[in-house]
Amino acid sequence: MSDVPVSARRRSVGFLLRFVALLLVFYLIVASHPVNDAVIVPFTAAIATVSGKLLNALGEKAEVIGTEIRSPSSFGVNIENGCNGVETALLFGSAVLAFPATWKRRLIGLLLGFAAIQVLNLVRVITLFWIGIHRPALFNSSHTVIWQSVVVLFGVLLFLLWAARQRPFSAERSPTGRERSRKG
């Protein structure tokens, strides 16, 4: 790490501190009972409803009760916190807001990123339901390790792609960037 310039290191640590602080704030908001009951639970139920409709369209018989998707073969999945894509959205949102960029770019990044994460999460729910019915032996490892890792990695990669597009802005704001632009 000694080969990294001090200013770059400071920027990097500053980003991390902002990221962790925002993550804590968002966690406290999401975990509070009023927000959980008024926003998170209905949102999770909406994910279950959309997943159920997609599963039925794909030929799987699925019944949705609240946040639970059930099949006639008595297999069921209950979508809980940690499986609704909100945790990856928190990670992505905290990173986007902690990164130096204009508010307009942050807002666009947040909206597109959240939508993309939710689309992938729908694929995850549908796939896990299918695995639970047809390959039950693979359900636990697919649920805990593979799909959770894939969704979180997707969120991180989305952030890195977004952040790479913001670089010119942060360079413009740095003193050297200004000097260059004046000279240019």
């Binding site: 080969d3 310039p5 290191r9 962790v20 993550l23 975990a31 805990t144 990695l153 790479a164 360079a171």
Partner: protein, 193 residues
Amino acid sequence: MLNGRAALRGLTGFLLALAFWFGFSRPYERAIAATAQALTNLFESPDVTRLEPSDKGEILLDRRDFPPGSARPGLPGPDIHFNFVLLVTLFALERRPLTGGHVARFLAAAAALFLVHVLALVFQLHSVYATSLGAWSRANYGAVARNFWAAGFHFYQIAGRFAAPFALWWFFGRREEEAQPERPRRRKKKRRG
């Protein structure tokens, strides 16, 4: 940084990490259970907590003062430490991931993640003690302590376990100079004369 080659490196890292994790998660679980137990015993008098990894992917929480016939709570181990796969994948994204310095930074991050896993397990066992053992919980944990341990572990479940590998990779693994946009290649001017 993110291009086709990085994606290929990331995918390779992900698959290797998965294989490694499936192969070595049991011994790793024994290591975090032993360390978490030692850490918990440090602050207990008498030291009664025992953490025993089982073959079912659970860490059984036992106390020497539990009644002999009572059920032992099982703490799901993979939920705590599967994020090792995320850490490996993020490190694999970097250019030249197998160079000496990069491997050293990865090992430092993996050691830090081990400590995160130990702390998460300590929080989890205290959240069980504080909230799941009925009258015993109420007698031994006040309202503040109950919220502290339970919220601490809940934070790890919801956000911490996903954020930890990212934060460690950002701190240890990501090199600022690599994150800079690649400078456009200047065409070499042909020297005349």
